[in-house]
């Protein structure tokens, strides 16, 4: 049952998806590589998820669900990834008075957790090759997005176009 296993994977991802899209990418990769796709296809998937409208975890869920089990798979995976967050927020709204959480401490703890996730994500995504091309693309993208205000989407689309051009010249 592909639909069930995809849904379960994304339900789990939804539970720990703290701290913005990029932090959770490492966990998503661990869930679906090499079970459902190889590392290179995963990077392309993330590039697509980031350069289409909507949150990255949501888009990744829709795409993986679609590839594994068609429309129903996409629907199930998308629903699964938001299920726990929605339950968590609904119960917090209902029971806020009874939860004695110290906000500033919780914020700092979550910040540490999500930064550790980003570090893990970076480690998982680093090119496992000595070929120069992936490293040059990644370093250039880092330089551009870290030190200018350019939207990452343009970097993704530009890199895709550039690579097509390189291919055409060969």
């Amino acid at each position: 049952m592909e639909i069930l296993s995809v849904s379960l994977a994304f339900f789990k991802i939804g539970i720990v998806a703290f701290g913005g899209g990029w932090s959770v990418v490492g966990l998503i990769k661990h869930e679906i590589v090499p079970r459902w796709m190889n590392a290179e296809a995963f990077n392309s998937l993330i590039a697509i998820a980031q350069s289409t409208p909507g949150p990255i975890a949501l888009n990744a869920a829709t795409l993986v669900g679609w590839q594994k089990a068609g429309f129903l798979g996409a629907l199930a995976a998308t629903f699964s990834v938001i299920l726990f967050p929605l339950l968590a927020m609904s119960s917090a709204l209902a029971f806020a008075k009874y939860i004695p959480l110290k906000r500033s401490l919780a914020d700092e703890s979550l910040r540490s957790g999500s930064m550790a996730m980003i570090l893990m994500t970076l480690w998982t995504l680093l090119p496992r090759t000595a070929l120069p091309m992936p490293w040059i693309f990644a370093l250039a993208a880092f330089g551009i997005t870290a030190f200018t205000k350019l939207n990452a989407v343009y970097v993704i689309l530009g890199a895709g176009a550039l690579n097509m051009l390189i291919g055409a010249l060969h």
């Binding site: 697509i48 909507g54 829709t62 709204l93 550790a116 990644a138 997005t145």
Partner: protein, 190 residues
């Protein structure tokens, strides 16, 4: 609570669930670049509609970060609940989820048609190659913007090493790690 009347009042709509859905669906169709681009766009739109004050919106945004899941979803959910109750929150979920869902179905269909052409493979290869750089830049920005303490460095580096070494336990490491950080900060204030 309505904002004071302004000239652009004519374009304003009542904060009904349907209108909340429309505003969010429009933003989520047109905004590329993830949560930290979408959230300000939502704040802007809600404030212009006179549904919520900017300050209140960003107070809700900071509360939304405590929850897992896409930050665009949790902020829209909590802000719309504040504006229009449970129907508002439901409208927020649909307005956040449906547009990207159908966009991705289209993209998925496109990929299954053209995914095997050499040209498209080259495009995906180039687009995928920049992803590690984008993550590094996100790490750079969050590192720069945080007030660091010895404790925070130990937490982040320690948990990251555990996650890299035991990726199959990542789920429990994260939940356990965040709980340990919280309890640690509670009982031992540095």
């Amino acid at each position: 609570m309505r904002m004071p009347a302004r000239a652009e009042d004519i374009t304003k709509t009542e904060p009904t669930p349907w209108h909340i859905f429309l505003v969010l669906a429009q933003i989520n169709t047109l905004t590329l670049g993830g949560g930290y681009v979408i959230v300000p766009a939502i704040g802007n739109a809600f404030e212009k509609q006179g549904w919520i004050e900017e300050e209140e919106f960003y107070r809700i945004f900071s509360r939304a970060q405590v929850f897992p899941g896409p930050i665009a979803l949790s902020t829209a959910f909590l802000a719309s609940y504040r504006i229009a109750g449970v129907p508002g929150a439901i409208a927020a979920v649909l307005g956040t989820v449906l547009p990207p869902f159908f966009a991705l179905i289209l993209v998925g269909g496109f990929i299954s048609l053209y995914g095997n052409t050499e040209l498209f493979k080259r495009f995906l290869g180039g687009a995928g190659a920049v992803v590690p750089g984008l993550v590094a830049s996100m790490l750079w920005k969050t590192t720069k913007n945080r007030k660091w303490s010895v404790r925070a460095v130990i937490e982040v580096v320690g948990l990251a090493i555990l996650l890299v070494v035991f990726p199959s336990a990542a789920f429990f490491l994260l939940l356990g790690g965040i709980a340990v950080f919280y309890i640690g900060r509670l009982v031992w204030k540095s």
